[in-house]
């Protein structure tokens, strides 16, 4: 019997597979497809202080081996998330979840984290400083070490829960940002958020996305994500959640060998609602094939 469980910031996950924020709603939508209690954890839809519609449509475009989205943090606001969405999730998922929060100012990040701190379902807070789809929202904080550190310090001051900073790949040196977060007290980092991209509609000769640009995800970004996880693993001493195009049990193992303590699965959930379940089911056989007894033992194993 192989051991798929991993420790992540005080939580024991039965396996390292976590649906990524923005691709899994508030979880309960997927309970229509399968028993989601098999998931290691769930990072739920990015939450902001105020309700947000997000960007105008079209906000989805296809790419080679991936997709662009410019959803722009649509969510019902932190109060409705806690009072309405989390109770619905609790009915179908009994493990601690990861609260993904975003903000347009330090105060908004702090506001959301304070509320999430008192939500018993929340085991870890994942702070998104890397959304490419909102002006002044998130990405600007995540592109400079100083502002990334400032958000980290501010949220760490208002919560006792572990804080993971979600990093953008759209920077010159992601290691520098990761180190700044670590120095400011972050308990972990998750990477990568989507890569900025665009497509043009040939008939109309204008961008497909109403927002012009969007975030690229899917298998197309996997090698980029893997490289960044590998580099950040050498740069920091805090756990890393690896993500970006993960679509198979082999991809999970690769991410962990690069240095990820747990792995998020994003776009794959959208093309196959069973993606996370299929990956979890395939993990033991893939581990046996590559001679792995315990997933935890291979973290950073490629270094």
């Amino acid at each position: 019997m192989v051991n798929t469980s991993v420790e992540l910031l005080g939580l024991t996950l039965s396996n390292p597979v976590i649906p990524a924020s923005g691709t899994f709603g508030f979880g309960y939508e997927f309970a229509d497809w399968y028993d989601i209690n098999i998931l290691g954890s769930i990072s739920f839809k990015g939450t902001t202080k105020e309700p947000r519609f997000g960007n105008p449509t079209p906000r989805i475009a296809e790419t080679a081996s991936g997709m662009l989205n410019s959803v722009g943090l649509q969510n019902p606001g932190v109060h409705a998330v806690i009072s309405e969405e989390l109770p619905k999730l609790q009915k179908v998922y009994s493990k601690p979840v990861i609260a993904n929060v975003s903000g347009f100012s330090i105060d908004e990040y702090v506001y959301c984290c304070e509320l999430m701190d008192s939500a018993p379902q929340v085991g870890i807070i994942e702070v998104n400083i890397s959304c490419p789809n909102v002006h002044n929202g998130g990405l600007s904080f995540g592109t400079l070490p100083a502002s990334a550190a400032e958000v980290t310090r501010a949220v760490k001051a208002v919560t006792k829960k572990p804080v993971i900073m979600k990093l953008s790949p759209n920077v010159t040196d992601i290691c520098e940002i990761a180190r700044a977060c670590e120095d400011a007290g972050a308990d972990g980092v998750s990477l990568i958020n989507t890569l900025m991209g665009m497509r043009i509609d040939l008939k109309r000769r204008c961008p497909i996305l109403k927002n012009t640009t969007g975030g690229l995800s899917g298998p197309a970004v996997f090698p980029v994500a893997l490289r960044m996880v590998y580099q950040v693993y050498s740069a920091v001493n805090i756990p890393i959640i690896g993500m970006g195009g993960v679509s198979s049990a082999e991809d999970v193992i690769e991410m962990m060998l690069a240095g990820a303590s747990a792995v998020q699965v994003g776009a794959a959930n959208l093309v196959n609602p069973y993606a996370c379940r299929d990956i979890i089911n395939a993990l033991p056989a893939a581990m046996e094939k590559y001679g792995i007894d315990s997933l935890e033992s291979i973290i950073g194993g490629a270094h």
Binding site: G22, T23, F24, G25, E29, F30, D32, W33, K45, F53, G54, T57, P58, R59, I60, A61, E62, T63, A64, S65, G66, M67, N69, V71, Q74, I208, G218, P219, A267, N269, L270, V271, N272, P273, Y274
Partner: protein
């Protein structure tokens, strides 16, 4: 909602750039006309959402226009090809609101869902009147199929090459219908909204989708009753909730 494998039974051209595909598989989750399926194609990342034209006796019928690389690939599929399909997606049309004499208005790629709707309403004893709009005569399909169901059919073409010259709205009667159902390009839907006055109706919308089952919220629109996901809370919205 069901993820299952369908087998292509037949895939043939029925009008300009327009193909009818019949697939054998589990259609048990298709519960209302106006729902759609989301089809995975080799070499394409996102699935293709296509409305259900008919679903009967284990056979799913879809009609699609080969307009992009995905649908062009579909048009080349031979019988026997296996396709991974999510079926039973979307809310579909509410047939209980039809009244005795419903009006069905389909434009171009919006015609197919009207077929299953017309079939079901006719079977329920309703007297359907159908208006079909196309650009040109060579794009017209299924007019005879609607007639075979016993519906009163009017065809409009933009260039007048067959039927009434003009748009579907030029054929909408002043009255005499109890409710309407429509699907087609958004400018047509807006024109139908205006041309139907006080009469209630249901509109099926199209939007670029990520997942097709409500997870990514890529296709959200604003309605009078809050945000709705076209894929999960739609694609059918009622006239009174639409913000235009």
């Amino acid at each position: 909602m069901l993820k299952s494998i369908f087998t292509v039974k037949d895939n043939s051209k029925i009008a300009k750039n327009t193909f009818e595909m019949k697939l054998r598989g589990d259609i048990s989750h298709i519960t209302a006309p106006g729902q759609f399926v989301n089809i995975q194609l080799d070499g394409f990342y996102l699935r293709r959402p296509i409305s259900v034209c008919d679903a009967e006796e284990g056979v799913l019928t879809i009609i699609y226009k080969a307009v992009g690389r995905g649908t062009e690939y579909m048009s080349g599929l031979a019988s026997g090809a296996k396709l991974d399909i999510l079926s039973g997606l979307g809310n579909g049309y509410d047939m209980k609101k039809s009244g005795e004499a419903p009006l069905l208005i389909g434009g171009g790629a919006g015609v197919p869902p009207m077929y299953m709707l017309c079939k079901k309403l006719t079977a329920a004893g309703k007297k359907c009147r159908v208006i079909l709009g196309f650009n040109t005569a060579d794009e017209v399909f299924y007019a005879d199929r609607f007639e075979a169901l016993g519906a009163e059919v009017t065809v409009a073409t933009a260039d007048g090459s067959t039927g009434t010259k003009g748009f579907v709205t030029d054929c909408i009667p002043k009255g005499g219908y109890t409710h309407f159902y429509t699907c087609g390009p958004e400018p047509m839907l807006k024109a139908v909204y205006s041309a139907t006055g006080e009469i209630s109706g249901q509109f099926s919308f199209e939007e670029r989708m990520g997942c097709g089952f409500g997870a990514c919220v890529g296709c959200t629109c604003e309605t009078k009753y809050g945000n709705k996901r076209i894929c999960r809370d739609g694609p059918v919205l009622t006239k009174e909730e639409i913000v235009w």
